[in-house]
């Protein structure tokens, strides 16, 4: 099992979510987040005072998928979330040791 953490543009959330459901991903968690990578934010002015806003609103998706599903899921996210401009976000992959369904104690991929 693998965990995908994808930070994307908030406006792309619906498209990414639909694409993931399409390929058979059964669940995910969405977090509203703020952050920045190479995109360095922007400047705001209030009554002439300059404020640099370097943490921009993002959406973070967390989903755990089976190993064979991993590449398909990555592909789905990349193709739907990409605009080609700076600030599109990043994907991080890590191994998951165990998954447990709280309702009935099912373990492993069946619990996903």
């Amino acid at each position: 099992m693998q965990k995908i953490e994808a930070v994307i543009q908030p406006s792309k959330l619906d498209a990414v979510k639909d694409a993931l459901v399409e390929i058979g991903v059964s669940g995910m968690t969405i977090l509203e987040a703020r952050g920045h990578g190479r995109q360095k934010g922007h400047t705001e002015f209030y009554r002439g005072r300059e404020y640099s806003v370097d943490l921009l609103p993002k959406v973070k998706l967390e989903l755990v998928v089976s190993d064979e599903m991993l590449e398909k899921a990555i592909h789905a996210i990349i193709t739907t979330a990409r605009t080609g401009k700076i600030g599109d976000g990043k994907i991080f992959i890590s191994k998951i040791d165990e998954a447990i369904r709280i309702r009935n104690d099912e373990r492993g991929e069946i619990a996903l």
């Binding site: 705001e44 002015f45 209030y46 009554r47 002439g48 005072r49 404020y51 640099s52």
Partner: protein
């Protein structure tokens, strides 16, 4: 031929006159009755006309009083509330709301009498404490067509918003308790004498009731805006900066709230300025139009200055400009033509932009929400421009056809305006310093550093403006 015709005619006349002569006494009685009847009708009509005018004026003045309260109530509270960080929104709004309650009670008990009661040139006496003698009959010297109680409650709304304006300078760092005591003392020491000098019977600066220096101040440029703005500056300097200012960014948490507040202020200002005509006549129209034109021109002035310097027109800039314009036109409305109002608005809009954006950072004081930059500066400039633009065609306050402002040839008026402004500045500086010193020694002005970090909502009021969890 001629005589034969004349004879019967004479006979006819004689016949007609006989009963007339006989009934002479009775006829005389009827005429007296008729005259009495006509006199009564005339008196009734006059009374009805006077009552109708009185009712009309009273209706407008009651609406105006409500409009001015709306400037504090939602208006200023939202305008200031949006400009602070979200941990301080309730604390900020409560400072204005507290004035609506506390100053009202104080006004009824004693400060109305100090401001508008008979007194000397500087302050009113105690004849009207507990509103004694403030009844439903008009006081001809103040406003001949409205009940004195209407006048009293209308003036009260000014006494409420004036200290509320100061709260913008010490936002996000003053104790609620200290704020209350400060404001109560301020109502006694600064507002009441200033209101008496400019508007009270026999006041030193009163232009319509024979003051020594007739200072033109239609709706409170000196009484409201100079006093609050200058006191705001003194308070900001005395209290010191907010923790982290100016390094820690403190942008407004909701320009949306400020936007709604500023628009409510604009609408409420019609009650403030046009209501200061103290009647629903043509002078109210002049003041209404000048108010609107001043606000519009200042919104444009501030916005253009911002556009040139920053490349963008901000919503906060546009509304700040409008408020500055409304401040600037406050003393002038009711004295100037619509075209002069455009000039005043434009000048004040640009000047306040530089006060807020450049001057504040040069000196480095933390007038958090620009109470001085907008009200102090805008009020001062507006008061002086009033002396320049005042026109006898709009308001012949010195007598019909007599020159009123500098542009009409009354150069001396500029001096009167400067005297008024200088007195307002001096009184505000001295009075506010004394009050701050006393309150600081007795209860302390600032919240603790910890409380300031945590925010006024939680530490002063035990609640939060926004509960994201529920």
């Amino acid at each position: 031929m001629r005589f034969s015709l004349l004879r019967p005619l004479l006979l006819l006349v004689a016949l007609c006159c006989a009963p007339t002569v006989l009934l002479h006494a009775q006829t005389a009685a009827t005429s007296v009755d008729r005259i009495a009847n006509l006199e009564k009708q005339l008196a009734d009509t006059q009374a009805a006309t006077a009552a109708a005018q009185s009712a009309g004026d009273n209706a407008w003045m009651l609406v105006s009083a409500a409009l001015v309260l709306m400037m504090s109530g939602p208006g200023l509270a939202l305008f200031y509330g949006g400009l602070v960080r979200k941990k301080n929104i309730l604390g900020t709004m409560m400072q204005t709301f507290a004035m609506m309650a506390v100053i009202t009670v104080l006004w009824g008990l004693v400060t109305y009498s100090l401001a508008f009661g008979e007194g000397n040139a500087f302050i009113g006496g105690l004849h009207n404490v507990f509103l004694h003698g403030v009844g439903l009959a008009p006081d001809v010297k103040y406003a001949a067509t409205i009940p004195l109680q209407t006048f009293m409650v209308y003036q009260l709304m000014f006494a409420i918003i004036t200290p509320a304006l100061i709260t913008g300078a010490f936002a996000e760092r003053m104790k609620f308790s200290a704020m209350l005591v400060f404001m109560i003392l301020w109502a006694f020491l600064v507002y009441s004498p200033m209101a008496h000098m400019v508007w009270g019977k026999g006041g030193l600066l009163n232009a319509s009731l024979g003051g020594r220096f007739p200072c033109l101040d239609f709706a409170g440029g000196t009484v409201v805006h100079v006093t609050s703005g200058v006191s705001a500056l003194v308070t900001a300097l005395y209290l010191g900066k907010r923790l982290g200012y100016p390094k820690v960014p403190m942008p407004p948490h909701s320009v949306v709230l400020s936007f709604i507040g500023a628009c409510l202020l604009w609408v409420g200002w019609f009650g403030f300025n046009a209501g200061s005509a103290l009647g629903a006549g043509t002078l109210a129209t002049s003041a209404f139009v000048a108010t609107h034109f001043g606000a519009a021109a200042a919104a444009i002035g501030w916005s253009v200055a911002e556009w040139l310097r920053q490349g963008k027109v901000s919503a906060l800039g546009a509304i700040s400009g409008a408020v500055a314009g409304l401040v600037g036109i406050t003393p002038a409305a009711g004295f100037v033509t619509p075209m002069s109002a455009l000039w005043i608005g434009l000048i004040v809009g640009v000047a306040c932009y530089f006060m807020v954006v450049k001057v504040k950072s040069w000196f480095g004081y933390d007038d958090s929400l620009d109470a001085f930059g907008v009200h102090g500066a805008g009020g001062t400039i507006g008061a002086i421009l009033t002396g320049i633009f005042a026109s006898s065609t709009i308001n012949p306050i010195f007598g019909a056809g007599k020159p009123t402002g500098v542009l009409e040839g009354n150069g001396h008026q500029l001096l009167n305006q400067i005297v008024g402004v200088a007195i307002a500045w001096s009184l505000s500086i001295v009075g506010t310093l004394i009050i701050l010193f006393v309150v600081d020694k007795v209860i302390g002005l600032r919240v603790s550093e910890e409380a300031e970090r945590e925010g006024l909502d939680l530490t002063q009021h035990g609640e939060e403006g926004y509960d994201w969890a529920s």
